[in-house]
């Protein structure tokens, strides 16, 4: 009987620990998913960022890069690409910009969330500089052009001829510290 009790305790402890670990695993799926997306480009979000060594320019073909924007939920800003599309050689560094205007009577902060399609192309697109890296504050009634510098790797698979870069602009004013929310000055140095 004592043996049975011990055996039961052992099973309970082991399975209980497993259950707790699996609960943790549920949360671990979040970073794992990020890593997985980094490797496979699963969600079209994880592209390279930061500087890249000068790449050899592939002049044998061109790639069409399109820019689109969305203002999800109730984002009142005007937000659109300055150029709708450009035709580039893989390996060349290019600069473009998005135009944003805050038509409201309040200081607001926005965050652009990028996405690329086809998802497979994400890992070949490197953003050297992008407004999507930072929060974007704008005064009431103000507007600005937000730059983005990117390069498409010459290793881009041949079957991809069009890459679409999309930005969704979200209002994150509410998550700013209250002290900042009261400010009326444009704070591009706030970070």
């Amino acid at each position: 009987m004592r043996d049975a009790k011990q055996a039961n305790t052992r099973v309970v402890v082991r399975l209980g620990v497993t259950a707790v670990l699996m609960f943790g695993f549920g949360f671990a799926l979040v970073p794992l998913y990020e890593v997985f997306c980094d490797i496979t480009g699963l969600n079209g979000k994880n592209f390279g960022r930061g500087d890249v060594a000068a790449l050899e320019v592939d002049r044998s073909r061109t790639v069409k890069v399109q820019f689109v924007s969305t203002n999800p939920e109730t984002m009142p800003w005007e937000f659109k690409p300055v150029e709708r599309s450009m035709r580039i050689f893989p390996g060349e560094t290019h600069q473009t910009a998005y135009f944003a205007a805050n038509p409201t009577s309040q200081w607001m902060v926005a965050q652009a969330v990028p996405s690329v399609t086809p998802a497979e192309a994400a890992q070949y697109l490197t953003k050297i500089n992008c407004f999507c890296f930072d929060r974007q504050p704008l005064d009431a009634g103000a507007s600005q052009e937000m730059p983005m510098v990117f390069v498409v790797s010459p290793e881009l698979p041949a079957h991809i001829s069009t890459i679409t870069v999309s930005y969704a602009l979200y209002d994150i004013t509410a998550s700013e510290p209250v002290a900042l929310q009261d400010k009326t000055k444009t704070g591009s140095q706030l970070l």
């Binding site: 689109v68 109730t74 999309s166």
Partner: protein, 366 residues
């Protein structure tokens, strides 16, 4: 009561006249949709054959090996050869299915350059179409009248599958759809194209179609997206190139006309008259046709602090929405005239009587 019965009769008559007994997929009108249909039929027949085989043996046993017929139970309970065979054969059948399936899948993932790119954005509960290379941008709302839904009028043949502004694409051209969403996940489906792609807020998906046959093709949202998930159809009109170009020109002319209309001044009565239509088409889904809202979910317009308070706040909330709620920013969805009209209507009808009004030109500043 008689009215209700009449309505029921009407709707039954309407439905039985229109209903058909379609039992299979649509073959569709694109190369891909045909390939999908053929694949579907192939798999279906394989399944039928497997089913007939398995059930055949089973029913043979049920009829022949029953106790009432004096059957004696045999004693076998394993046979390695048979067990290996019926593990290996299904495996081979599966490989036979996987090969054509992978081929079709690869065709669907064709990423060659398209002739027309259209951004498709799902909203609660409508679609927005933006043509990337033209200045065309419009919303597509279901146009089935409420009376038909509530059985107060007979249902028309395209009941729930009709919209005010269909998507128009040229025939014979590769059209690429960039699919995303504004609020929750939607899914854009046109059965005749075999195109179904989820519209995910913050992310962009793509799909494409090349339709040779002009015509009108209808589909629906296929991801539960809230209350009116069942009421956001997709209608695509495929036009020959020349007609498509004419349509593009007409759209541009229409947008110019709207801009012109926005600079005019209107009387309060004109605005209320226009506003009523806009309200029923755009606002009534949540705020109810009588302005009563849906308690607990959507606030009433009648007597609301916003609709009876300062007009600037009222315009602001209609134009820019309210974050964290289902109240969208209607600035992009409605013309300045419609915005002015609907605000004026809400302030002076639906049980409100504020008495002021706003002109389209004043809307521009919000």
């Amino acid at each position: 009561m008689t009215k209700a019965l009449l309505a029921l009769g009407l709707s039954l008559a309407g439905s039985s006249a229109m209903a058909d007994w379609q039992v299979n997929l649509n073959r569709g009108v694109t190369e891909i949709s045909n390939a999908v249909f053929d694949l579907h039929m192939l798999i279906f027949w394989i399944c039928v054959v497997i089913g007939v085989g398995v059930f055949g043996v089973m029913f043979y046993s049920i009829f022949m090996h029953r106790k009432s017929k004096g059957a004696q139970a045999a004693h076998f309970h394993e046979n390695t050869t048979v067990e290996v065979v019926w593990t290996v054969i299904p495996f081979l059948i599966l490989i036979g299915m996987a090969i054509p399936a992978t081929g079709t899948l690869m065709d669907m993932y064709d990423t060659s350059e398209a002739d027309v790119d259209i951004q498709v954005t799902g909203y609660q509960w409508k679609w927005r179409y933006q043509y990337l290379d033209e200045d065309i941008d419009f919303f597509s709302n279901m146009s089935t009248p409420r009376e038909e839904i509530y059985n107060e009028a007979g249902k028309n043949p395209n009941y729930l599958l009709e919209v005010d502004n269909p998507l128009v694409i040229p025939a014979g051209k590769k059209v690429r759809f960039l699919i995303t969403a504004n609020d929750v996940i939607h899914s854009w489906w046109v059965p005749h194209f075999a195109v179904k792609k989820d519209a995910i807020p913050g992310f962009i998906n793509e799909s494409w179609v090349r339709v040779d046959e002009p015509g009108v093709y209808r589909g629906q949202c296929t991801e539960l997206c809230g209350k009116d998930h069942g009421f956001m159809p997709v209608v695509v009109e495929v036009k020959p190139q020349a007609e498509y170009e004419a349509w593009v020109a007409a759209q541009k002319a229409k947008q110019a006309a709207l801009a012109d209309a926005a600079s005019q001044s209107y009387s309060i009565d004109e605005l209320i008259a226009t506003g009523e239509g806009v309200y029923q088409r755009v606002c009534a889904a949540c705020h109810a046709p009588n302005g009563g809202g849906v308690p607990g979910a959507f606030p009433a317009i009648t007597g609301s602090a916003i609709a009876t308070g300062p007009i600037a706040d009222h315009i602001n909330i209609v134009a820019n929405g309210k974050s964290g709620t289902a109240m969208q920013a209607f600035k992009e969805q409605l013309s300045a005239v419609d915005l002015a009209a609907v605000v004026t209507y809400q302030r002076n009808r639906l049980g409100n009587a504020v008495g002021d009004f706003v002109n389209p030109s004043d809307i521009q500043n919000y």
